[in-house]
Structures are given as C-alpha cells and as structure tokens.
C-alpha cells in the first residue's frame, strides 16, 4: 500500500472564547479548512477543582453543518430542541446534524461541577453539502463502551472507530456524508497503520505526544497534519504516549459562507438563518 505524503503541519493557535482559552489549528491563516472539515476547537486539558463551573455553552443555534464533540476526558451534558438530553463521558462522542436548524446547549455536568476533574474535548465542524444543508436535524450520542476498538501492535495501539470502517470493524455513528472518524491512543514506542480512502481528504490531529507520521516528525502536540491524496495508508510511529483524532471526508468544493454559529453557501443564506433563529423557527431551548 502506498503511503499518503504529508501536505502540511499546522500548530494550533490559542484563541480566547469567553473566559476560556482554547486551541484552534483551523480556520487560521496557515490552514483555512480541510474540506469538508471547517473548524477544530481543542479545549483543555483543564484541571478543575471541586465546585467549579466548567463548560458553559448556553443555548445557541446551528444550521448547515454537523458540530461533533469528541470527549477525551470529563463529561459533557448536551440538550437540544429535538428533545435530547444526553450526558456523554470520556471516550464518547456527541454527533449533531444541525441541518435546517436546531438549538443546543453544551454544559459541564452537575457531578463534574461538584467533584472537579480533567476536561479535554475536541469539537469539529463537519460541513454539509448544499443538498443536505436543510436536512432534518439529528443527534447521535455514544459512550465509550459502544465504540468498537481495533487493536494494533500487540495492543499498544487502540483505534476507536467512531464512524467509518477499519478492517472489519464499523463505528456506530451513521454519517450522512460518509465521514470516517477515529480516536487513536498509542503507547510509547508503538506503530500504527491507518487505512484511508485515497479519493477523500484526510487529516490527523495530534492532541499530545511525539510521533513520526509518514516520515514527517511531528514536533509538538496540538498539531493538525494534512495529507495529499496520493496514497491509501498513514503510518504513525509514536516515541512517547500519543493521542490522535483521525478525520476523513469527501471534498465538497462548494463556497463556504460562515458567520457565528451558521455555515451556509452564501451570505444571503446566513442572513436568512439569523432571521429564522430570531423569529423562533429553530425552536426555543429553555434552561
């Protein structure tokens, strides 16, 4: 199998989001997007003491894409205008298809606020093509034990298949655009081999650790690694314990108009999204 050559390595920059500092490899000047992935926010790891107020993203709308949260540590309490009320713990995923419009909140749980602990999450915005921007909203939440793991290198590498397929193992998420997403945990001095679809765009985000990816040394954590579509395999050699998120999706090649919590194709569609939100067409989420 031919390996994919590394296109670019982009280290995340720190961005202030309210009272929190988060890390954002893209969008940035170096990396606008990795079509169809338009935003990656890495929160933490933050250590919270007992009686904290961790994570307070109150009711807010989205339209035209899928905000997906991977929980590496801690807990996230999701509620939405479809009636979902879901606490997902570390190792789990919250995959929301905003489609034509939905309000949701993402909060720390009462238990986490009371006891404290480590919070580390990644939110990725997965774009929807024009034909699906106004699709019916949907929410899929899965805990760690519902996400199958592929072991490699004698169990020193664990690939949790959230969506898509690795060997014979299929993830529980039903992606309407054929996205593959895996979280990869590697022990020190281990090797992983990730099969990829050469026709789709692929990227790795290294949360922490130190590794060589397809021959390229990744110097520091919080790095996004993008690849050319010239092969089918990604090889990772980890010299220390390392964590990755792997994302793969079909390039949409459509104009992206984004403002605030909406991602559409044109500015006019964004204005319409605001109007629809303000007039209550996306519903109301009470506290």
């Amino acid at each position: 199998m031919k390996t994919r050559s590394v296109q670019q390595v982009t280290v995340a920059t720190q961005v202030q989001m309210g009272k929190d500092f988060i890390y954002q490899p893209f969008p940035s000047h170096q990396l606008r997007q990795v079509d169809p992935f338009i935003l990656l926010h890495h929160w933490g790891p933050y250590q919270f003491p007992a009686n904290n107020d961790a994570l307070a993203l109150d009711s807010h709308p989205h339209r035209g894409f899928e905000p997906v949260t991977f929980i590496f540590s801690g807990e996230v309490w999701h509620r939405d205008t479809m009636g979902n009320n879901s606490i997902i713990k570390d190792g789990g995923v919250q995959w929301m298809t905003a489609g034509k419009g939905v309000l949701h909140s993402e909060m720390g749980t009462d238990e986490f606020h009371k006891k404290g602990g480590t919070l580390e999450i990644i939110q990725v915005w997965m774009n929807l093509p024009k034909r699906l921007k106004m699709t019916e909203p949907n929410y899929q939440g899965f805990q760690k034990d519902s996400i199958p793991v592929v072991n490699q290198y004698g169990g020193k590498v664990k690939i949790a298949v959230v969506s898509g397929k690795v060997d014979d193992t299929t993830g529980p998420i039903k992606s309407i655009t054929g996205i593959s997403a895996y979280t990869i945990y590697m022990d020190a001095n281990s090797k992983a081999s990730i099969p990829t679809n050469a026709n789709k765009n692929a990227m790795l985000y290294m949360l922490d650790g130190s590794a060589i990816v397809n021959g390229k040394k990744i110097e520091q954590g919080r790095s996004a690694i993008t690849f050319n579509n010239d092969g089918t395999e990604i090889n990772i050699e980890a010299s220390e314990g390392s964590k990755f998120l792997y994302l793969e999706g079909e390039e949409l090649k459509e104009p992206v108009a984004q403002y605030g919590p909406f991602v559409m194709n044109t500015t006019e569609e964004l204005h319409q999204a605001f109007e629809d939100f303000q007039s209550g067409k996306m519903g109301v989420l009470n506290d």
Binding site: G18, L39, Y259, G260, P261, T267
Partner: protein, 193 residues
C-alpha cells in the same frame, strides 16, 4: 428641527456658516429604525457614517457558539460606523442594530468625500472625532485586559451616562465581557456601598 442636534454636535469642534450648513444638510439622510432593526449586517459593505439623533445602536459580532460580543453602543449625539469595512470596502464582520426605536442621520461615503473637498474644516472635525475614538478604543482594550470588572463598569457608566439605565443588563454584561449574573452582583455591591 432634527438637524439642530447634529449641528450642535459639529459646533463643538468647527464653526459652520449658513451656506455650509445648507450644503451639509443636503447630504443628511434621515432614517427611523424599529427596535431590533438591522442598520448594517455582517457580510455587507459599510458605505455610511451614522449619527444617532435618538434611541441607541449597538455594534457587535457573534462567535461560533452564538455568543454576542458588543464592541460599542452609540447613544444619542454619537457617531458610529464599521470603520474597517468603510475604509477597506471589504464585507463587514459586525452587525449594527437598534436596541430601542432609534432615529439616525446617514451620510454616504461618496457624499462625505465631497464634503471634505467643499468644506475642508470637516477634515478637522472628523480628525478630532477619530482621535477620540482611537483614545477610547485603546483605553477599552487596556482595561479589558487588566482592569477589574467593577472598574470597567464604572468606566462604562461614565462613558454612557444617558443610556446605562435603559439598556438591558445582558447587553451591558456582553460589552464588559462578563456574565449578567456577575454584573448583577457588581451593581448590588455599588448600590450598597
């Protein structure tokens, strides 16, 4: 006459004769906005300066999680615009809307450029206005990085003496970068001190 308000504002820095006033009057576009009405939307190119006759405007952006970040309020007797878009001709990243029913005068950029040629003392007027805006902005940036929220609230009251009691708490909290609950605590503390 609505124009008297704007001429009084201009008279603070320059003196206009009757001919000049008459000319300036021809470029003023009067506009009424209902509460919530958008004057400039994000993605649009800002081609006007705005002067508030009555009511209140806010200039704000929205982040990815739907949170509003208020850059400034424009109370009666204030000038406002999105200078980034106005100067560069690029789409605005901000929204200007009316917090209450509001009356404004709009001046087109093309008309303003003619005024600078016809009545050069307007260059002086807007130089002073922009100088003040730069001073206020740098003070605001510095205090948002270093001053306690209570001090920032006191500075807000001083800067907006006529509107702070009319604007809902959540907007003031957004301007100060704190939660409405925290602002409530600050107000209670001040009220009881």
């Amino acid at each position: 006459m609505k124009e008297e308000v704007i001429f009084k504002n201009i008279a603070r820095h320059i003196k206009l004769d009757e001919e000049e006033k008459k000319y300036f009057q021809t470029i003023l576009l009067y506009k009424q906005l209902k509460k919530g009405e958008v004057l400039l939307n994000y993605g649009e190119i800002c081609t006007h300066q705005y002067f508030v006759i009555s009511g209140c405007l806010r200039n704000y952006s929205i982040d990815e999680y739907g949170k509003e970040h208020i850059m400034m309020f424009a109370a009666p007797d204030w000038w406002t615009s999105d200078m980034y878009s106005y100067v560069t001709g690029l789409p605005s990243e901000f929204i200007i809307d009316a917090l209450v029913d509001t009356e404004v005068f709009e001046i087109r950029k093309t008309d303003m450029d003619k005024v600078y040629e016809q009545i050069p003392k307007f260059e002086r007027f807007f130089r002073i206005l922009f100088q003040n805006a730069i001073v206020n902005n740098s003070k605001r940036i510095n205090s948002s990085m270093s001053a306690p929220a209570e001090d920032r609230y006191q500075a807000f009251i001083k800067q907006y003496p006529n509107i702070y009691q009319q604007i809902p708490l959540k907007y003031i909290a957004s301007y100060l970068g704190i939660s409405p609950e925290f602002l409530s605590k600050i107000r209670n503390k001040i009220a009881h001190s």
